[in-house]
């Protein structure tokens, strides 16, 4: 047996183990993805954003909360790479720390939402009948509201803040995942190998979690990646409307909300967080679009 993780091992037509087959499939998907320039641009930007966010305390040149009123609304310079805001805070450092908030919010929402949607969808699709009907009616109700409106109303109940914004976005974001997982489950449910599992006496719960749910994951991954930008936009919109992260926090949407008053006099103050949001959300869309072509060719 050749050593693991070489090109030959990964592209072996006759994998010797389950792990080799799985990694080989992933490697082929990666090779396909590499062919797509837009996806690679997106992937690179996301990678840079993640690194910048993780290393923010080391890379920041200033304390993101430190005010310097004598030097407020300064133009970008060697001392303040992106200038300073209306309280003299260093915009570059604030953008770095804001990236932590934004990426943290996105990850929290996805971690809350994807498993929930997957579970609800698989259970509804596999169980069928009354359970399916009931669960789908619930998703219908949540799908009926435009996402931002429902999130706004939820935040109002929970008190504005980052945690409530995460919870509110999660509450509005799960139904599409449930729908998707259900649709996938319906096609998987009647296949022979599921029947075989049932014949061996596997319980419904085991079939759903071990045999149905894993097969729904690829299309769910595509959906999550495409959804990330929509989560970023919703989170930033909540911040912009003053219902998400609250002002001293360097969240990008909140920064734009205060920066917009200086649009005509000091355009770079709102322009820099705007660019940050635009780049990250564009990157996720580029990557998601490419991933869809690779993992889910029937949908493109």
């Amino acid at each position: 047996m050749s050593s693991a993780f070489t090109r030959e091992w990964l592209l072996d037509e006759t994998p010797a183990s389950r792990a080799q087959a799985a990694w080989g499939r992933r490697y082929r998907a990666w090779l396909d993805l590499k062919e797509n320039p837009l996806a690679m641009i997106g992937f690179t930007i996301i990678l840079i954003a993640v690194v910048l966010a993780i290393l923010a305390p080391m890379l920041a040149t200033h304390d993101p909360g430190a005010q310097d009123l004598a030097n407020k609304l300064a133009r970008p310079s060697s001392a303040h790479w992106f200038g300073t805001d209306e309280l003299g805070r260093d915009v570059y450092s604030r953008i770095l720390y804001g990236g932590r908030i934004t990426l943290g919010m996105v990850i929290s929402v996805v971690v809350l939402v994807a498993p929930l949607g997957l579970l609800v969808g698989c259970v509804a699709g596999y169980a069928g009948g009354v359970v399916d009907q009931a669960l789908m009616r619930v998703t219908d109700v949540f799908l009926a509201f435009p996402r931002l409106i429902l999130a706004l109303a939820f935040v109002a109940v929970l008190q504005p803040g980052i945690e409530s914004a995460i919870l509110a976005i999660a509450l509005t974001a799960w139904p599409p995942y449930a729908r998707l997982a259900r649709a996938e489950t319906l096609t998987i449910r009647n296949s022979d190998y599921i029947a075989a599992c049932r014949l061996t006496g596997a319980s419904g719960w085991r079939i759903v979690t071990r045999h149905v749910a894993p097969l729904c994951v690829p299309s769910l991954v595509v959906r999550v990646t495409l959804d990330m930008s929509s989560i970023i936009i919703t989170a930033a919109s909540l911040g912009f409307l003053g219902m998400g992260a609250q002002p001293p926090s360097p969240e990008w949407g909140a920064m734009i909300a205060t920066g917009k008053d200086y649009l005509y006099t000091h355009w770079w103050v709102p322009a820099i967080p705007c660019t940050a949001i635009l780049l990250t959300s564009l990157a996720f869309n580029f990557l998601g679009d490419g991933l869809r072509d690779v993992l889910d060719p029937k949908q493109s």
């Binding site: 509201f145 429902l150 706004l152 109303a153 003053g242 219902m243």
Partner: protein, 337 residues
């Protein structure tokens, strides 16, 4: 026939259930908030007996289920209580603010349809070419740019730098209160009055918010049109039409597109609900006196009656739009009958 009626009945039952769900969610949002509505009405320092008396008067000492049915009754009478902020009945406020939002969203829908559908068809016909790629990138950008970012950019460039569009607001100060409210749609009212200057002014003020709002939905419509069209072009009837020597233009618009247009009906319904939520943000940037601005000001002041009213209204409109799209789809596409 019987089968059709049965399908219709189950569709309507689903819609009714969804509406009930909307009512439950808005009820919970309105009642389970951390701010006690009684304390909000009488103030923190009111004596205990007063608080209890008001609580009984407002019916808040009843079990939740009783309160819910009372709430349902009020909703059916179009009664959402009074806004603390404006001191008006919420229904009156909504009637005053909503036309501005509808005007904005409808104009954006028409614009995004006029641009999105032909561009989507174009991308599909030239699949894989640089035209298709460019359109794809423009669409992805439309999905990625938050409405408020685009709005600030447009304000800076077209209002501040070049001065070709007016600033925020729905009309210039000199036309304020000059146009009587007939329908509430400024463009239609000014036309009805024969005041073409006011009409032109209203149009100029609409230009920016409408374009900003339309970009996202345009991207969505383009993408969906492209996908549907690609699907249709693979159909055997299209190949037949091409094989018998019809011009590409005829095949596209006479043979493939009619099938696509049926599917697009559903897309348009979804687009409109997206436009309604996009208008919330657009209206804040452009100081547009519509439902979105009403909703956000009420939210900031924890004024829950308008929040519940506006949320329920928007939810109900979206359910209604989906129902209409479903019915139209059944009517237009003989295969679903």
């Amino acid at each position: 026939m019987n089968k059709r009626l049965k399908a219709l009945a189950s569709l309507l039952a689903n819609v009714a259930l969804t509406l009930l769900g909307l009512a439950i969610i808005t009820f919970l949002i309105g009642r389970v908030m951390p701010v006690d509505p009684v304390l909000a009405a009488v103030g923190d320092n009111a004596p205990h007996e007063v608080v209890e008396r008001i609580r009984a008067e407002m019916g808040l000492d009843q079990p939740l289920i009783v309160q819910f049915f009372r709430y349902l009754g009020q909703v059916f009478h179009g009664d959402f209580g009074v806004s603390i902020l404006t001191k008006n009945a919420v229904t009156t406020d909504i009637a005053r603010f909503f036309p501005a939002t509808i005007e904005l969203a409808t104009a954006a829908l028409i614009l995004s349809m006029l641009i999105g559908v032909p561009v989507g068809v174009w991308a599909a016909v030239r699949q894989g070419s640089w035209i298709d790629q460019t359109i794809r990138v423009i669409c992805l950008a439309g999905h990625s740019i938050p409405v408020f970012v685009l709005a600030l950019l447009a304000l800076y460039v077209f209002y501040y730098l070049f001065g070709i569009t007016p600033g925020p607001g729905r009309q210039s100060v000199i036309y304020q209160d000059m146009v009587p409210q007939i329908t509430g749609f400024l463009t239609i009212d000014s036309l009805l009055e024969g005041d073409y200057d006011a009409f032109w002014d209203a149009l100029r003020h609409m230009a920016q918010p409408v374009f900003v709002l339309a970009y996202f939905s345009m991207a969505y419509i383009t993408r969906m049109t492209r996908a549907f069209m690609l699907d249709a072009m693979r159909g055997e009837y299209v190949i037949t039409a091409r094989a018998k020597g019809l011009a590409l233009r005829t095949v596209i618009w006479r043979h493939a597109f009619p099938n696509v247009s049926v599917q697009l009906v559903t897309v348009l319904a979804l687009t409109y609900s997206g436009l309604l939520s996009g208008s919330v943000v657009t209206e804040t940037v452009y100081s547009w006196p519509g439902l979105g601005q009403y909703l956000t000001t009420s939210l900031k002041n924890a004024d829950m009656n308008p929040v519940v009213g506006a949320t329920l209204l928007i939810g109900a409109i979206c359910v209604g739009l989906n129902l209409i799209a479903d019915l139209l789809y059944r009517q237009l596409d003989p295969r679903v009958r």
